[in-house]
């Protein structure tokens, strides 16, 4: 029987808050973290809004990261390490009582954050700030962990891949503890202009908090978010032995690629459906066991259409009775962090019996007719849930969490 894996600690930083509880409260209240960009000149950008992490993040990070190390990290890396430390605190795990060689660190990294808006880059720290492996390295260094430590990049599915690989490391006996997650920010003029050129971003600048509207008829692209999410995964019997709080079991996963298009998802959500099917199977479950889906739900024309079609393919008539919500409606698309951040939200939904809503759902699309938990959070008993992540390049991941 494979080893069971549970989530015992979580840390997250998004536009809606600098702690797990602050984020959860704001998510359940259906708040938006999207605002006008004021941190740089946006005159050359069509999109002028984003979901930015609050300014007082730096104050928080100083509590967790030594000045010397902080200067060698990008702001994104500081978000990652801060979230990791909050997750370790939350798990109340003492690494002196654990075999450090059996602790691994796996981080989804798409952008290191060493962009034109990064501050304090010098010749001496340029390399460290640009190393795509810097985030797992800093976390391993911080706790002197000597198990496998690496970064994985599968675009918007990166940190869902990191979580899946952490699960697999523990399942197969290669590790007992895995620190997994991701951090990202593409709130900079070059990335915004690039995504604008692909017509991927919302340009609803007038009312920023209403710009991200997944599954709505008037959706016009995703809103860039930033942040980090980190989870402590442990082998279940070890976690129980030390009396750890268990948020959820990570019951299964699937990783697939579509081999189809560098940007567009496979027609009619075929790849998305295959990923959800394989994940449910990997967890040893059946579609009827799934009570909630935290959707990839980007607010783009194709993702939301195809994800809806994929859910119908897998769940049939029952699809209409499964709540499906998109956290991106509130915190934007956190890219490399999205998989982990949304897995955390899914774990909290399981743990607390509350489903955060899809906000800005005012204009239903007749073709997208599932229960998207419109605008208001909802109490629900959830046995098992899916968290979907689908990335540019056709990289897909679905994670199955179980109470």
């Amino acid at each position: 029987m494979p080893r069971e894996v549970v989530v015992t600690g979580m840390g997250m930083i998004t536009s809606l808050g600098l702690s797990l509880e602050e984020n959860w409260k704001n998510l359940c209240e259906g708040k938006s973290g999207v605002t006008r960009i004021t941190s740089f000149d946006v005159s050359e950008c069509v999109t002028r809004i984003a979901a930015r992490v609050p300014e007082n993040f730096e104050e928080l990070s100083r509590k967790y990261i030594r000045k010397r190390a902080a200067g060698q990290m990008t702001r994104v890396a500081r978000m990652c390490v801060t979230s990791a430390k909050m997750a370790v605190e939350d798990a109340a795990i003492d690494f002196d009582k654990v075999d450090r060689s059996r602790c691994c660190v796996i981080i989804g990294v798409v952008n290191t954050g060493n962009s034109s808006v990064e501050q304090g880059t010098t010749l001496q720290n340029t390399v460290f700030k640009s190393m795509s492996n810097s985030m797992p390295a800093w976390i391993s260094l911080e706790y002197q962990l000597t198990g496998p430590s690496f970064a994985v990049n599968t675009a918007c599915a990166s940190s869902a891949y990191a979580l899946s690989l952490g699960l697999e490391m523990i399942r197969t006996g290669q590790a007992d503890v895995a620190l997994v997650g991701g951090a990202d920010s593409i709130i900079n003029p070059e990335e915004i202009r690039g995504f604008n050129a692909l017509y991927a971003l919302s340009t609803a600048n007038e009312v920023p908090e209403q710009a991200s509207k997944p599954f709505s008829k008037d959706r016009d692209g995703f809103v860039i978010g930033e942040g980090s999410g980190m989870l402590v995964l442990e082998e279940k019997s070890n976690a129980l032995l030390r009396g750890a709080k268990i948020y959820a079991e990570v019951a299964g996963y699937a990783l697939t690629s579509e081999g189809y298009n560098i940007m567009a998802p496979l027609t009619d959500g075929e790849g998305m459906a295959r990923t959800m099917h394989l994940a449910i199977k990997n967890a040893g479950l059946a579609p009827e066991n799934i009570d909630y889906i935290n959707a990839h739900g980007t607010s783009t024309e194709l993702n939301d259409r195809y994800e809806t079609m994929a859910i119908k393919k897998i769940f049939g008539e029952r699809a209409y009775r499964i709540p499906v919500s998109s956290s991106k409606s509130m915190i934007g698309h956190t890219i490399g962090a999205a998989g982990a951040v949304e897995a955390i939200i899914t774990a909290l939904a399981l743990d607390r019996g509350v489903i955060p809503p899809t906000i800005n759902y005012r204009c239903p699309d007749p073709d997208l007719d599932l229960d998207y938990v419109p605008n208001v959070s909802r109490q629900a008993t959830i046995r098992c849930a899916l968290s979907n992540s689908f990335g540019f390049g056709g990289h897909n991941a679905t994670i199955v969490l179980k109470k």
Binding site: R66, K67, R68, Q124
Partner: protein
Amino acid sequence: MAKITENTREEVAAIVRDFFAEECEVDKSRIDDTTNIIKDLDGDSLMFLELIEIFKKKYNLDIELKVIGKYAVKHPVTTIGQLIDMQMLIIEHENRLLDLDNKN
């Protein structure tokens, strides 16, 4: 070549101590010549390079990093006192630093 005066060592020592106090977030009073850079201050080798840049600018030194690197391999630095002594030698001898070993 920089002019060495009676006060130069004190000046160098003050810069070194201030630098480590600031970067390592420790009280300056905790740093003396016997302080171990890695064990006591959690410092790193990059700090040595950053200090060299500071002294190069301050004393307008003609010194190549590879010269210092070769010298440091034979004369490893672990304490603040040793670091100050080496900075004094760098200021005094600049690119002729390796000649010191040849003379010996």
